[in-house]
């Protein structure tokens, strides 16, 4: 078991390095950097000036070295500016150059400064993640029980009327991406068209205080897409289990249908959906970005859009690392959890 964990962790680390490298590469392409130079030093500067600005700010060195610096395994660059004062990656404006650390990458906790929000990336990401965390919490609280219940109810009697109704519902829900369900929900419940106006079409006020009125629609929007998917997975798993020979054994032992489902089928049927729920995270993130943009809720997803839209390299890198980290950790949890849920693998 320990060996398995160690192997998984090693693989996770390797994936993290590969992915951050790719992200770093894509965000630090020449055109992006030139755009940064124009943003910082004025949009009308000549190509030669752009090149010299890049050189002065340490962007001309080999790509691998810059990646190492950003990661914090290569010492930050140092040099002098036009006035002859020492500058460098790790020397912040107004700070004493002598006391600056040699390494300053994400490993040291220095995530850089956002050019849009003029604040430390670490701080921005932490606050925004907090806001998104609240949203995700409510999404999970509504989505998981509802979808599991739908899946199990539909799967326990395959082909029944209940199954058909719930299955069609799930299919409809998986066919409705967040930007569609968001629009439809707003039109139905928050627009002048139907005039219902039960909920608010914006969740901007939810950042100060969550109410049912301002938070219901965003939560419902994200949950709706997920419910269908998880419910279908659960149903598939449940129908498969219900046709298994051991369920017949249980039934012919005289176990009541209720206990066949609860005691014999449920645990076996939930192994697959567990993995599915865990692997949904990368894709729930999608929903978060869309929903936060649509409802103007300034969480992690909204920040990601701002960073990408404004070529804020440091912030975009910070957000990406966070997102990838979340995904990789959930993958790890899913692997380990699967092993624990399934006695066949646990004993090995």
């Amino acid at each position: 078991m320990l060996k398995f964990l160690a192997r998984r962790l090693l693989l996770l680390l390797l994936s993290a390095v590969c992915i951050t490298f790719v992200i770093f590469f894509l965000t630090n392409l020449q055109p992006n950097l030139r755009k940064v130079a124009k943003f910082e030093a004025g949009s009308r500067i000549s190509d030669a000036e752009v090149t010299s600005w890049l050189q002065k700010n340490g962007y001309d060195r080999p790509f691998a070295v810059r990646y190492g610096e950003w990661l914090g395994v290569v010492p930050g660059w140092t040099g002098t500016n036009d006035e002859g004062a020492p500058v460098g990656r790790c020397i912040h404006a107004g700070a004493d150059p002598a006391s600056a650390p040699r390494y300053c990458g994400i490993l040291q906790g220095d995530w850089g400064t956002s050019s849009v929000f003029k604040d430390s990336v670490g701080k921005i990401v932490a606050t925004r993640l907090g806001l998104t965390g609240i949203l995700m919490f409510w999404v999970m609280v509504t989505m998981v029980p509802i979808s599991l219940a739908i899946g199990i109810l539909a799967g326990m009697r395959e082909g029944s009327r209940l199954d058909r109704a719930l299955s069609t519902l799930s299919i409809a829900s998986t066919s409705t991406p967040e930007y569609v369900s968001g629009v439809v929900l707003i039109v139905l419940f928050a627009s002048s068209m139907t005039g219902l106006k039960w909920f608010k079409g914006s969740a901007a006020s939810a950042m100060d205080g969550i109410t049912f009125e301002n938070f219901f629609l965003p939560v419902a929007t994200i949950a709706l897409y997920g419910i269908g998917y998880i419910a279908r997975m659960t149903r598939a798993s449940m129908t498969e289990v219900m046709t298994a020979q051991y369920i017949r054994t249980a039934r012919l032992k005289g176990v009541s249908f209720r206990n066949v489902v609860l005691r014999h089928a449920l645990r076996n049927a939930l192994i697959a959906p567990f993995t599915v729920i865990m692997l949904q995270f990368p894709w729930l993130l999608n929903g978060v970005v869309i929903t936060e943009t649509l409802f103007n809720y300034k969480g992690f997803g909204w920040t990601l859009v701002q960073a990408a839209g404004n070529n804020d390299i440091q912030l975009l890198l910070g957000c990406s690392v966070c997102a990838v980290f979340v995904v990789l950790v959930t993958q790890l949890i899913s692997d380990i959890g699967y092993a624990f849920l399934n006695p066949r693998i646990r004993i090995g």
Binding site: C18, S175, Y179, V183, L285, N286, G301, S320, V327
Partner: protein
């Protein structure tokens, strides 16, 4: 002219769509008559769910096909007085109605929705097809040979899957990336796979008949190679080696990057499915029989394993077109890749969402369109799965 009421609007819309109805009725009539002779496709007409799904999908397919006949207003022309007007509003010059209203720039929502269907239905199935080519060409050997090849490819696939899709889009679908020529390089690699696939398919089976093999290979190489070069080469970009006169396919770089990134997102999942199916089928006796008569690995993969994996793959293909449609919508929703003028559904939803609480119809109409197409594809897949499991 007086504005139309809802029933008049519906009637008018239905009338505009007459070629679609005609084609749909013809398709269904022919299919139901011959359903017992049409294999799995025919069996689809035994399942209500499958038929509804098929009808929805074909509705949009025919709409896309007949779009030029259906559209009644130019999709780009803006009419000042028609900004955000409600459905059924007559044109100021009396030349007809905005059947489903006007958007924030005064364009016809109905015509844009119809035009949008042809954008979506051009890109989504084709991108999915290429994702399949990539997934199959890599998944078959990974599953069949196993070992280090499998480890390496699976690691790569998992790596791509660990990227949140939206992040990948924001990183890949940018003008800066287009400027570097990266999408064209990637496309150069991806588009050669179908060619490779065809040649392998041919050679693995017909190497015992060299005459036929050589002739067919020559045809594939000339026709396929030319198509490939035309696809990859584009004037005024990093890869522009083919003279203009010979370059018969023009893909604007911003569409190409959308195409490439959608393939990139889908291919790893297809890879995993194909790999899983291969792992299962390669233990069958007919594979062992092929091995014992000395068949090459590619013959076994392409002619013994792949045809027997087709059931689950066809079902997944339908689902995946739906997913790709959603992805394209996502790209449009964030204004990535496609031009803001483009009538595709995602971009239209994006343009309409700002005024959602005041004028809902410009976003609502494409949203419903997208949902119904994806729903159709999902129902179709469900029907196919159910029917293929029966009997």
């Amino acid at each position: 002219m007086t504005p139309l009421n809802w029933s008049e609007i519906l009637l008018a819309v239905a009338l505009r769509l007459w070629p679609v109805w005609a084609a749909l009725i013809a398709t269904f009539a022919l299919s139901i008559i011959f359903k017992r002779r049409l294999g799995l496709y025919g069996k689809l007409f035994d399942s209500t769910v499958g038929m509804i799904g098929f009808a929805l999908v074909m509705f949009w397919a025919y709409t896309a096909l007949f779009a030029p006949m259906i559209i009644d207003h130019d999709v780009l022309s803006q009419v000042g007085q028609m900004k955000n007007v409600v459905p059924g509003t007559p044109m100021p010059d009396g030349s007809g109605y905005y059947l489903l209203g006007g958007d924030h720039l005064g364009r016809d929502v109905f015509s844009r929705m119809v035009a949008g269907s042809s954008v979506v239905l051009q890109i989504a199935p084709l991108a999915t097809l290429f994702a399949y080519m990539v997934g199959i060409t890599l998944g078959l050997p990974a599953g069949y040979f196993g070992g280090r090849l499998d480890d390496g490819l699976s690691f790569l696939a998992n790596l791509v899957l660990a990227f949140p899709v939206i992040l990948l889009f924001y990183l890949l679908v940018t003008p800066e990336i287009v400027e570097t020529g990266l999408p064209q390089y990637v496309a150069a690699v991806i588009f050669i796979l179908p060619l490779l696939f065809l040649l392998l398919l041919l050679n693995s089976r017909y190497y015992v008949k060299p005459g036929f093999r050589n002739a067919a290979a020559a045809v594939i190489l000339v026709a396929g190679g030319w198509t490939y070069l035309s696809l990859v080469s584009e004037k005024d970009t990093r890869i522009a080696f083919l003279p203009d006169a010979l370059d018969w396919i023009h893909v604007p770089p911003n569409i190409l990057i959308v195409f490439v990134s959608v393939i990139f997102v889908n291919a790893p999942t297809v890879f995993r499915i194909v790999r899983g199916l291969t792992l299962d089928i390669r233990t069958r006796d007919y594979v062992a029989a092929a091995q014992t008569r000395g068949e090459g690995p590619w013959y076994i993969m392409l002619w013994e394993i792949l045809p027997n994996a087709r059931g689950p793959l066809i079902v997944d293909f339908c689902l995946r077109i739906g997913y790709t449609t959603i992805l394209l919508g996502t790209l449009g929703f964030f204004g990535l890749g496609l031009s803001p003028e483009s009538p595709d559904w995602g971009s239209t939803i994006n343009a309409g969402r700002k005024l959602l609480t005041i004028a809902p119809h410009p976003a609502f109409v494409p949203a419903l369109a997208l949902m119904s197409l994806v729903l159709g594809l999902n129902l179709l897949a469900d029907g196919l799965r159910e029917e293929s499991l029966r009997d």
